[in-house]
Symmetry: D2
Subunit: 400 residues, 4 copies
C-alpha cells in the first residue's frame, strides 16, 4: 500500500506565515521540533485521524520573487527566530517546495499589494475567467505531478481593501457571468477561491479579504463537495479579546472602553499602512468585544507599522470597566508575540481539519472552526471558550 | 402575608469587604446604584428566585471598635471610592446594622490578627466550647430580635496562619471532644463555622483560613441541613489566571513561567505582611496555573503591603510561554482593581445562592459555587469557564 | 502699607486646567493643601521673592456658560479628584472670581472649538481690531476694579488648528494693518496675546496654538516691557520623553522607534478628536525625541478621545532601542496622570515667574522657562535636565 | 615604534558579562559591529585618547571549567543574542584568550558561589596571603608573556554575601597582618583587589561585593599609583531609578511608594536566589530613590530567579506619587533588557577610563565614574544627570 500524499497549496506562498508553516512542516517531519502550539496535537485530538506532517507536499502562488530558504533566513535574521541548525536541516525540503511555487495574479488586489509584485511572470490577464483558468491549470499540474490524494488551498496573502458586493455575488450563475466581465474588479482572493472550489478543492481564508465568503462561492463549495472556512486567523490581540471579554460578561462588569494599539513591522504591516487595506483588518478586530458583552462600549483599534519590530507584533490593550457601586477599574495587557510563529501552527491546524472534513463528506462552511478565526464564517459566536466547546463537540462526533 | 426577612451575619463585620457589601445592600435597596458586578443579577439568573436586597438584616462579629459609617468613610477618604451622597443616604441603615455587631473572639487567630483587636469586649474565653457557645448565643439573639426567616454566616476576617490538622478534625464526635480542650488552638474561623452549622445555619468561607473545610464540619453541615462553601473569594489576579491559563491550554502553548506580583495597602495587607499569614494566601493563589495547564511551569507569587495603595490592589503578571518552533513569547497584564469593591458583590452573590440552596434542601459542600473561589471546596476545577458551565448547569436545574 | 495685589487673567477661564489652578490658589491661600507639585515651591526657589498665593485675584474670558463651582464639581464627580470639604471651603473665592469671568471671542478658533461656545454673550465682532479692543476693555476694567499692581494673561484654551503665517506677522506695523482686515482669520490666541501685550501685560501661552509666538508679537512685548512664553505646558508623556531620551543619548543607545499612544476623555480630548486641531498637538509632541538624540528614529504619536477616562490621561510608550552588538531591547512605560492636576501647578509656576520677570525689568521671550513647555519659545533645548540647569542658572542670577 | 598593548584581566572571566565584553572587543577590533552602547564612543569623548579596541589582550581567573566559545555559544542559544556569523569570525580571538584564563580562588566567596566551582584546579589555599600571592603570580605571568604596557583588573564575579568589616580593614598594616590569619574569611573580591593594587594595577569592582572599597585598600591604591572604582555596574532598573527620581524631585512631586520587581534567569540569578547574596544586591538597589528625592518613600525591591528568562532581565516598577491638591497618580515602567549586553559595554567604558586615569597620574578612588555604578565609591550623588555632569567636567579637564 502506498503512503497517502496530500497537497497544501498556499496563496501568498512565500510570505512570513507560509514560510514558517512550511519550515514547520519540514521540521515536524524530521522530528526537529515538538508540536507545541498546534491545537490539533493537543490531547483533545487523541485518536482522531489527521494527516501526518510527513504526508504533505507544498506548492502555491506568489507575486514576489523569492524562495523558502530566502524567506526563512530573512525572518531568522530580522526577527531573531528559528535556529541556524533547523534551517540548514530543512533546506532540502524548502528548495524542493520552492520549485512548486508559481507566479500569482494581482488582478483586484488593490494598488498597495500590486506594488509589492516584483515577480517577472506575475499573471497579467484580460478577464477574471482567464485568471481562474490559469490558477486551475497550476492546481491540476501540482496534483498530477505529485500524485496527490487530496489537495487544500489556503489564502494567506496580504489584506485586500474592503469590497462592497453587488448582486452578482449571490448565485453561481450570476458570478460565472461576472467572470467574463473585463472590469469586474473581483478581488484576487475570490478568484483563487472560485478556482479551487470549482475543482472540488477546499478553500481556507486565513485573511480578512473576501475569499469565498459570499453566497455564490458557498453554493459552489456545497455543489463540489468542498468546504470553505475563514476569515482571518485569530492569533494575538483578538484572541485575547475573545478570552477576556467573556470574563467581563460572566462577572457582570460593565466595560466602559476597550482600547487596543497594535504595532509591528513585517510586510503585512506595510500593506496595513494603507488606510484602505487597514479598514478590512480593523473591522474584523473591532466587533468582537461588543458581540460578546452584548452592548457597545467605546472601542478603539489602531494598527501601526513600526519597522524595527519586524515580525514581533506588540499590542497594548487598556480596558476600562465599571465594577460595584460605580467604581471604575482598569485592566491592561501587553502582548509581545511573533506573528508568523503564532499564525503558522493555526494554519496547519485548519489545513488538517479541512482535509479531515472533506474525507468525512462534509461540505460548505466549516462552522466548527470558529475558534481559529477573528471573523468566523457561519457563526456569530466570538467567545473563545464557547468556540472551543463547539470544536470539542465536533471532535466528540468524529470520535463517535 | 408578612415580608420575608433574612439575616446576614458577618464575621469580620466592619472590615473593608463587609462594609462595602453592607453599603451596597443599603444602596441597592434604596435604588441608589445598579446591579453591575453582581453575578446573580446577570441574565443567567433571570427567573431564579433569589432574596431581594431589601430583605436583608445585617449583623456580625468584630474584634475592632468601629462602625459601618466610620469604616465606609475611611474607605471613601483613603481609597477614593463611593460618593458622599450615597454614604449620607445610606447612613440610617449603616447605623441600625452597626448596632447588631457584637464583639468577636480572637481565640486561635494568631498573633498578627490578635494585635488588631482593640474592642474592649473582645471575647476572651477559657475553652473553644465556651467560644462556640457565646457565638451561638449572639446568633440566636440576632435571629429572634429581628424575626428572621433564614440566616447565613460569612467569614470575611483576615487570613489566619495555615493549620496542620490532627485526627480530631475527622469526625463530629472527635471534634466535639477537642472543643473542651483548653489548649486546642482551633482556628477562630473553624469555631465560628462550627457554631453556625450546629444551629443549622449555612457557613460561607470567603477567606483562605480553615473555616469549615474539614471532614467533621462537613458532616455536621449535612446533619444539620446546612451548607458550607469556600475558600477565598476569587476577585482579581487569581481570576485572571483562571481565565488566561485555559487559553494557553487550548492553544497548546507551553507556559514556561508565570510570575505574579501583587501590591496593596489595606488592613488585609497588614496581616499578609506577616509571612505566616501570607503563606495561606500564596498557597491558594499559586496552585491554579499548574492545575489548569496540566504540568508545572515555574511560578512565583508575591504579595507586598504598600501603604499608599490602600484598597487598590495592583498586580503585574509576566507570563513567558513557548510557541511554535521553540519561539518564546510574552504576555503581561496589569490589574488595577479596588479590592473591597471586587469582593463585596461576590460575597452577596454567594450569600444569595447559599440561602437559595438551603431553601431547596441542599446541604453539605456547594460545589457549584466553584467559580467564586480561589480554592473551591469539593472541586478540582480551576478553569473559570468550566466553573461557569457548572454554575450554569445548576441554574438550569433550578429553573427545571 | 497696603498689600500687593496681582491679577491672573485666564483665557479659557472655566476649563479644567484653569478651574483646578483657581481652586488651588484658593486652597493654598486658605492653607487647606500643601505646595506639592509646584516647582516654584521647591528648595531651588528658597529666598526668591515670588507672589504669595493669597495675593491673587482671578478673572478671565470664556466662551462657555459655567462657573468655577460648577467646573470644579464636574471634575470632582467625573474624574474623582478634589475633596468635598475643600470645594465647600473654597466656594466663596470661586464665586467671587466667577463674577470676573467675561464672555470671550471665538474669532479664528476653528469650527470644532466654536461649536463648544454656548455663552449667549460670546463676542461676535466684525474685525480683529474690534475683538482686540473689547478684550482690552475687559482687562482694563479688571485691573481698575480690583486695584491690581500687576496683571498677567495666560492662554489655556483648547488647541487651535495649525496656522500658516503670512508676511503680515513679521512686524508690528504690518500686523496692525492686518487687524483691520475683516477676513484676516487671525487665530483667537494671537488676538488675546496682542491685546494683553499692547497694554504692557505679559502673555503666557500654555497651549500649542499660535499665541504670541510670531515676530510682530515678540517685538510688541519688548516695546511694552512685557514678556511672552510658551508653548504648550509639558505635563505628562512629553515630560517623560524629555527625561528618558537624554538617558538613551548619554548611554549611546540607538533608539530605533518610539511609539506613544495617549488616551483621555476631557473637553480638550473632544477638541483634539478633530484631526485638524490634533495636528498642532502632535507636532509639538513628536519633535522632542529626535531633537534630543540627534537623529531621527521612527516615531509615532496618537491621541485618542476615550470618554470614560475623563481627565485621566493615560499614555503607553514603547521604546525600541539597540544596545551592544546589535541587540534590540525594549522599554515601556504607562503614565496615568490627571491632566488638570498636572497642568494647573505648572501654570501657577509660570505665572509667578512671569510676574517676577516683569518686576525685574525683563521683557521679550522668557527663555529660562523652557522646562515648562513642550515646544519652548526661543530655545531648541528639549532635554529636561538641561532645561532645569537653565532655570537654576536664572534663579542663581536672581539671588545674585 | 611598537604598538601599545594593554591587558584586561577579568575575575569571573567566563561569566556572561565578561564573555560578552570579550566577544565585543574582538568584534570591534574586526569592525564587525559598531560602537553603539559604549559611552566612551559617544561624541563627548571625541578627541580623548582612549585605548583602541585592538590594543587589548584578555586574561583572567575563573572557578568554573569553560571557554569563551562555549560561554558565548551558550548565551547565543539560550538568550537568543549574537549572530552565528559574528561568533565564527571571532572564534580565533576567543580561543587565544581562553588560554589566558587561570583557575581562581573561592576563599571567602560563601557557599552558594563555591558550589558553582567545578574547575579541577580551583585554588585551594591555606591563608589569604597564599591566595594573594598566587593571584599576583598569575598577573605577573600574564603581563610578561604578553609584553603588556599596562594592565587593569576588573571584578565581575557573582555577588558575595554582605561583609561586616572589622578594624583590620582600616589600615594597610593591619590588613597585611590579617592576610596571615588562617580563618580570616576575607571575601575573595578583596583578595583579588589587594593582589592587583599591590602590583600597581588598578582594580574595578563591577559587583556589589566588597572588592577594594575599604580604607586599607584605598590607601594601598594611592601608595601604588593605581585606582579603584565601583561598586556594581548600573545597567538597568537602577539606571531607570536614577533617571526618573530626578524628574520627581525637580517637579516637586511627592513619591509615596516605589516598587521594583526584577526577574531573570542567568547564573547571576542562581546566586542571587540565595537570600544572603541577594541582600548585598538589594542594598545597592534600594537606597538610590531616597537619596535623590531627599526623603524616604516606601520602597520595595525584589529580585527573583526565573529560569526561562535566561539573560533577559525584566523589571516592573510601580511608582505611586502625589501631585497637586493631594491627587495620587501612577507611573509604571517595564524594562526588558539583556543583562550581559547592557553590562559589557559599561565594563569596557570603565576599563578604558581607568587606563586613561593611570596614564594621567590619577590614583585612589575615581569619583568621576559615578555614572557607571549603582553605589558609586567616594560620591553620594545618585542622580544620573548630575553624575553625567561630573563625567563631562572630567572630560573637559582632560581635553584641557
Amino acid at each position: 500500500m502506498t503512503q497517502r500524499r496530500v497537497g497544501l497549496w498556499l496563496i501568498g506562498a512565500l510570505g512570513g506565515v507560509c514560510s514558517t508553516a512550511v519550515l514547520g512542516l519540514s521540521a515536524l517531519s524530521r522530528k526537529l521540533t515538538d508540536t507545541t502550539s498546534l491545537v490539533t496535537a493537543s490531547p483533545l485530538f487523541d485518536g482522531v485521524e489527521l494527516d501526518d506532517f510527513d504526508t504533505f507536499v507544498v506548492g502555491g502562488h506568489e507575486i514576489r520573487k523569492s524562495s523558502y530558504v530566502e524567506a526563512v533566513r530573512d525572518l531568522h535574521q530580522r526577527s531573531n527566530v528559528f535556529s541556524e541548525a533547523m534551517i540548514q536541516a530543512c533546506t532540502p525540503d524548502l528548495e524542493k517546495w520552492t520549485a512548486n511555487v508559481k507566479p500569482g495574479t494581482i488582478l483586484g488586489s488593490g494598488p498597495t499589494i500590486s506594488k509589492l509584485a516584483d515577480h517577472p511572470d506575475v499573471q497579467r490577464v484580460a478577464t477574471p475567467r482567464e485568471a481562474v483558468e490559469r490558477i486551475q491549470a497550476d492546481l491540476r499540474a501540482f496534483r498530477e505531478a505529485n500524485k496527490l490524494d487530496q489537495v487544500v488551498v489556503a489564502n494567506v496573502t496580504s489584506t485586500e481593501p474592503p469590497k462592497e458586493l453587488s448582486d452578482a455575488y449571490t448565485s453561481i450563475a450570476k458570478f460565472r457571468a461576472l467572470l467574463d466581465t473585463k472590469d469586474a474588479s473581483i478581488p484576487a482572493s475570490a478568484l483563487y477561491g472560485w478556482a479551487a472550489l470549482d475543482l472540488g478543492i477546499s478553500y481556507i481564508n486565513f485573511t480578512p479579504s473576501l475569499g469565498s465568503s459570499f453566497p455564490a462561492a458557498i453554493q459552489l463549495a456545497e455543489e463540489r463537495k468542498a468546504s470553505v472556512s475563514g476569515k482571518d486567523g485569530k492569533t494575538g490581540e483578538t484572541l485575547m479579546k475573545t478570552v477576556l471579554a467573556p470574563m467581563f460578561r460572566h462577572r457582570n462588569f460593565k466595560v466602559l472602553s476597550w482600547v487596543g494599539h497594535n504595532i509591528f513591522g513585517n510586510r503585512d504591516g506595510v500593506v496595513l499602512d494603507d488606510p484602505v487595506n487597514k479598514a478590512s483588518k480593523i473591522q474584523t478586530k473591532d466587533q468582537v468585544v461588543s458581540s460578546i458583552v452584548g452592548y457597545k462600549p467605546q472601542t478603539h483599534v489602531s494598527i501601526e507599522y513600526i519597522q524595527s519590530l519586524d515580525d514581533w507584533k506588540t499590542a497594548w490593550n487598556h480596558i476600562h470597566y465599571q465594577g460595584f457601586l460605580g467604581t471604575k477599574m482598569i485592566l491592561q495587557f501587553i502582548w509581545q508575540g511573533c506573528d508568523s510563529l503564532l499564525a503558522a501552527p493555526l494554519l496547519l491546524d485548519i489545513v488538517r481539519l479541512t482535509l479531515l472534513a472533506q474525507r468525512r463528506g462534509e461540505s460548505g462552511v466549516l462552522k466548527h472552526l470558529a475558534c481559529f478565526f477573528k471573523s468566523p464564517m457561519g457563526c456569530d459566536q466570538h467567545d473563545f471558550f464557547e468556540q472551543m466547546d463547539m470544536l470539542a463537540a465536533y471532535v466528540a462526533k468524529v470520535k463517535g
